[in-house]
């Protein structure tokens, strides 16, 4: 099915899929807004340790932040490649985006594991509970994004992704960039402002 046949425009002349996805991203803002609010409201109210300054590893998380920012760059390069019909580079950038997402997830698994070894489990204190729920929800979103990107990559390898599907890649990019901007906020609010 061609892109033209699959596209449905609203009465405003905008693509309905893109509009629906922006509405979804708006709802995600409220989800993460509530989680970040909860973290901040309970900030500094833990009565037992470990406390944030004892466990948070800023250099390691800075690398994760850099990794996610670069994955966003790879994503826009993938979209640009698909739009100009350069499927060879589209495949490379799509895989690079997913790979950087996997590195971020591996970093999060390492971080959570080291925290648990230091005695910080979900039930330890208010910091642990709100921290794990916030960053864990973000990690779940990254996981969905990586699976989505790998699906697009496989479709590109099969020759089923081309310039006609640029909007599909753009929408997956919107999701990926949203995950990135949420991390920009989490990195500042949770890690740097202790």
């Amino acid at each position: 099915m061609t892109h033209a046949a699959a596209t449905h425009h609203t009465s405003m002349g905008l693509d309905s899929r893109k509009m629906a996805f922006w509405a979804f991203i708006g709802s995600e803002c409220l989800l993460f807004g509530s989680l970040i609010s909860t973290y901040l409201v309970y900030k500094g109210k833990s009565v037992v340790g470990p406390y944030p300054h004892e466990v948070l590893n800023i250099p390691f998380t800075s690398f994760s932040t850099f990794d996610l920012l670069m994955s966003s760059l790879m994503m826009v390069l993938a979209l640009a490649a698909v739009q100009r019909g350069d499927m060879k580079w589209a495949k490379i950038w799509l895989f690079a985006t997913a790979f950087l997402g996997l590195i971020f997830l591996a970093g999060q698994v390492y971080e959570f594991t080291s925290f648990v070894h230091e005695g910080l489990t979900l039930q330890t204190n208010l910091f642990a509970c709100t921290f794990y729920v916030l960053t864990g929800t973000h990690g779940a979103h990254v996981t969905v994004g990586v699976l989505w990107l790998l699906t697009l990559w496989v479709r590109a390898l099969q020759g089923k992704l081309g310039p006609a599907h640029a909007l599909t890649v753009e929408i997956s990019g919107l999701y990926w960039h949203f995950v990135d901007v949420v991390w920009i906020v989490i990195f500042t609010v949770v890690y740097l402002i202790q």
Partner: protein, 110 residues
Amino acid sequence: MTEPGQARERAHPNIGTYLRVAAVLVILTVLEVGVFYVPAFHPMLVPVLLVLSACKFALVVLFYMHLKMDSPFFSFLFGAPLLLATGVLVALLLLFYGTLTLRGAGGAGG
């Protein structure tokens, strides 16, 4: 013929713009981490970090998510819930940490 809504959408940025935005994002991240480690900045750590973070947020949303070029309606769909979430966050912080209480400013009126 171009439909009305599509006419408002401009072409996406070129690769050069994407690379320049990425360079600025990396510089802002380095500044954030630098500010965190330099004791001289600690008195104004929170406002500086919030401004740097807001700049990074805006760059990604405007250029990588194409809100600068896309229909203003998409900006509304994203901006309205973002504003609501920010309002809820500020209200909760004022309730828990500020002088604003459920009984009014400074707890007066009880």
